[in-house]
C-alpha cells in the first residue's frame, strides 16, 4: 500500500539543494496561518507538542474515510487494508530509529506508556530489594515517578547523576554511581527544560561495561536529530509521535528483541494472546505480546505519514537549520538586560529556557500570549531541575524547523513589552 499522502513526494521534490526553504515548509502547516488575539501565531512551544503538516491530517482523513477497520482480525478487505497500513507504519518507525526488526517496535500511546511498559514488565521482573536504578538530575517527572514507584515496591534505590551549572551531567559522578547493584540506567536524551543533549553513547557504553541495560527517553530528541538505536546500542528507546509532527496518542518503544522476548506482558487483552483456555493462555509473539486491545490505528498511520514527511525534507537538514535558529535566539535573548538563560550546555538543541528579572514566568507567558506568541511557562514537569537552579519556574521557547528568525524577533519584541509592563 502506498502511503496515504501523495504530497509527501511533492515535499521531497521541494527540497532545493542548499538553502532551507522555510517559507515553503510553513505552507505545509495549516495552523501556522492562524491568528491568535488578532495577531499572527508565533508558535514556540514545540517541546510540549509540535504542529502537524497537511500530509498527516490527510493521512488521518484518508484512513478514516476509506479504510477504517480493526486490524489483525478481519478477513474482509478493509481490515486487510488497515492492517497493512498499520504494519507499514511500524516499518517506518523501525527505519526512523534504524532498528533491524519490526518485532522490536512496540506501538504505545507515547513516551510515558513506553516507560511504564519497561518499568512494569522489565523492572518488576529484574529489580529486587537493594538494587539500584540510575537516572539523571534532568529527568521529566513521568520518568522519575515510574522508578520511584518501582523502587518503593521492590525496596530498591534511585540514584541520580548530578549536573553542573550549565546543565551538563557530571560523568565522573555517573561512573561512581555505577555499581554492582545497578540494574538499570534510564536517561533522557535531550532535556525538555534545558535543551541539553546528553552523551548517551558514552553513558550506554559505561553501563554495558558492567552489564547494565539502558533505557533512553527520546521524547525530545527524536524530532530534532537523527536517531540510530543500533549505533547508540541502547537496550530500550521511547518516543512520542505528537512531538514528531504526528498525532497525539501514538508513540513507540524500541527494545532489543532478546530483552523483549524475556519480558512478561504489560497489559492483557485482545491481540496479545495466541490462545486462551480457562487453564492456560499462550501469549502472542513480538511485538503483539505487548499490544493488548485495539491499537491506535489511525494514529500509527498518521505518524507514518509524519515520518515520510520528515524523510522528504531530511532530518539532518532540519537539525542544521534548527541549530542556526537556536544560535540566533541565544544571541538575541542574551542581549536583553536582566534575562538569564537556564541551560547553557555546549551540546544543546531547540530549547531557550529563561528567567527575566523578578518577573514571574506566568506573567511573561500571559503578556507574550496577548502578542500571539505561544511559549511554555512553569516547571516543565522537571521540578528537581528548577530546584537545582533555585528558581520556581522558567519561561521556555522551544523551536521547530518551521520557526523563523522573525519568530525569534517577535519573541524579543514581546519580552520588551513584558519589561515595559513591569517597569
Amino acid at each position: 500500500m502506498t502511503t496515504a499522502n501523495p504530497r509527501a513526494n511533492e515535499n521531497a521534490s521541494g527540497k532545493a539543494a542548499g538553502a532551507f526553504d522555510v517559507a515553503r515548509i510553513r505552507e505545509d502547516f495549516p495552523i501556522l496561518k492562524e491568528k491568535v488575539h488578532g495577531k499572527p501565531l508565533v508558535y514556540l512551544d514545540n517541546a510540549a507538542t509540535s504542529q502537524k503538516p497537511r500530509v498527516v491530517l490527510d493521512a488521518l482523513e484518508h484512513y478514516y474515510t476509506t479504510e477504517n477497520a480493526n486490524v489483525h482480525r478481519g478477513v474482509h478487505y478493509l481490515s486487510q487494508q488497515a492492517t497493512q497500513d498499520y504494519e507499514a507504519a511500524r516499518g517506518k518507525i523501525r527505519q526512523l530509529l534504524n532498528a533491524s526488526d519490526d518485532r522490536e517496535i512496540i506501538l504505545v500511546r507515547g513516551t510515558t506508556e513506553g516507560i511504564n511498559l519497561v518499568a512494569q514488565s522489565y523492572g518488576r521482573q529484574n529489580i529486587g530489594e537493594g538494587d539500584e536504578i540510575i537516572i539523571s538530575a534532568m529527568e521529566h517527572h513521568s520518568y522519575i515517578v515510574h522508578w520511584q514507584i518501582l523502587c518503593q515496591e521492590r525496596g530498591a534505590h534511585l540514584r541520580v547523576i548530578p549536573m553542573n551549572d550549565d546543565g551538563e551531567l557530571l560523568m565522573d559522578e555517573y561512573e561512581k554511581l555505577l555499581g554492582p547493584r545497578t540494574k538499570l540506567v534510564s536517561i533522557v536524551h535531550l532535556s525538555n527544560s534545558l535543551g541539553t543533549i546528553n552523551p548517551v553513547e558514552q553513558i550506554i557504553e559505561m553501563a554495558h561495561g558492567r552489564g547494565v541495560p539502558v533505557l533512553i527517553d527520546g521524547a525530545q530528541s527524536t524530532p530534532h536529530m537523527t536517531i540510530d538505536v543500533h549505533k547508540m546500542d541502547c537496550d530500550f528507546f521511547v518516543f512520542s509521535g505528537h512531538k514528531l509532527y504526528g498525532p497525539t496518542g501514538i508513540g513507540a518503544l524500541y527494545g532489543k528483541a532478546d530483552l523483549l522476548e524475556s519480558m512478561p506482558p504489560y497489559q492483557s487483552g485482545g491481540d496479545m494472546i495466541k490462545s486462551v483456555t480457562f487453564e492456560k493462555t499462550i501469549y502472542n509473539s513480538l511485538p503483539y505480546k505487548f499490544e493488548a486491545g485495539t491499537p491506535n490505528i489511525g494514529g500509527a498511520i498518521g505518524l507514518g505519514a509524519a515520518i515520510d514527511y520528515i524523510n522528504g525534507i531530511g532530518m539532518d537538514r532540519m537539525a542544521a537549520y534548527e541549530h542556526e535558529l537556536l544560535e540566533y535566539g541565544t544571541e538575541r535573548l542574551s542581549t536583553i538586560s536582566g534575562l538569564r538563560l537556564i541551560g547553557t550546555a555546549r551540546e544543546k538543541a531547540d530549547v531557550l529556557s529563561f528567567v527575566l528579572r523578578d518577573i514571574h514566568p506566568h506573567d511573561i507567558g500571559t503578556i507574550l500570549d496577548s502578542e500571539g506568541i505561544a511559549i511554555r511557562t512553569g516547571h516543565h514537569c522537571t521540578q528537581p531541575v528548577m530546584d537545582r537552579f533555585s528558581i520556581p519556574a522558567t519561561a521556555r521557547a522551544s523551536l521547530a524547523f518551521y520557526n523563523t528568525r522573525e519568530d525569534i524577533d517577535a519573541l524579543v519584541k514581546g519580552i520588551d513589552k513584558v519589561i515595559e509592563v513591569f517597569s
Binding site: H360, H362, T366, P392, E420, V421
Partner: protein, 154 residues
C-alpha cells in the same frame, strides 16, 4: 505605556496590582495564628500561606507569605488589607463576592464599592487561565475558616 495601546494587558496589570506585587502588604509571619492555611497550585507552583489572628471574633492581624505570579501574590496582598477587623462571616461574604466577580457575574454598585481595591482584579476575567491565580488566596481563606470551625466543634 505609550508604545502599546491601552488594551487587555493594561487592564490585567492594573497599577494597584503591580504595586501590591512589588511591595506586598502584610507579608509578615504571625505568631500563634488562629487560622493558618497553605494553598498550593501544583500546576503552576503558586503558593499562598495565609495566617489570621482573631480577637473577639474579628480579624485582628492578617499576614501571608508565598511565591508565584503577580496576580496570585497581589491578590493575597490586597485581600489582607480588606480582611482587617472583619468577622469570619463578613470575610466569607467578601470572598463570595470576589469569587462572583471573577466568575463573570455582574455586581451591584454597592458590592463593587465594598470590594475597594479588589475591583482592580476585574481585568483578570478576560484571562481564564489566570482566574485561578487571583482566587488562590481566597481559597486559602475559605479552607482556613472551614478548618478552624471544624476544629472548634470537636
Amino acid at each position: 505605556m505609550q508604545q502599546f495601546p491601552f488594551d487587555e494587558i493594561d487592564e490585567l496589570y492594573r497599577k494597584v496590582i503591580l504595586d501590591h506585587y512589588r511591595s506586598p502588604r502584610n507579608m509578615v509571619e504571625i505568631g500563634e495564628p488562629d487560622i493558618e492555611y497553605d494553598e498550593y497550585n501544583p500546576v503552576c507552583g503558586d503558593r499562598v500561606v495565609l495566617q489570621l489572628k482573631l480577637s473577639d471574633g474579628r480579624v485582628e492581624e492578617a499576614g501571608f507569605h508565598g511565591e508565584g505570579c503577580s496576580i496570585s501574590q497581589a491578590s493575597a496582598s490586597v485581600m489582607m488589607d480588606s480582611l482587617k477587623r472583619k468577622t469570619l462571616e463578613e470575610a466569607e461574604q467578601l470572598s463570595s463576592t470576589f469569587r462572583r466577580l471573577m466568575q463573570g457575574h455582574t455586581l451591584s454598585e454597592d458590592e463593587l464599592t465594598g470590594l475597594g481595591n479588589l475591583a482592580a482584579f476585574q481585568g483578570v476575567r478576560k484571562f481564564p487561565v489566570r482566574i485561578k491565580c487571583a482566587l488562590l488566596a481566597w481559597t486559602a481563606l475559605e479552607e482556613g475558616i472551614a478548618e478552624y470551625r471544624r476544629a472548634g466543634t470537636r
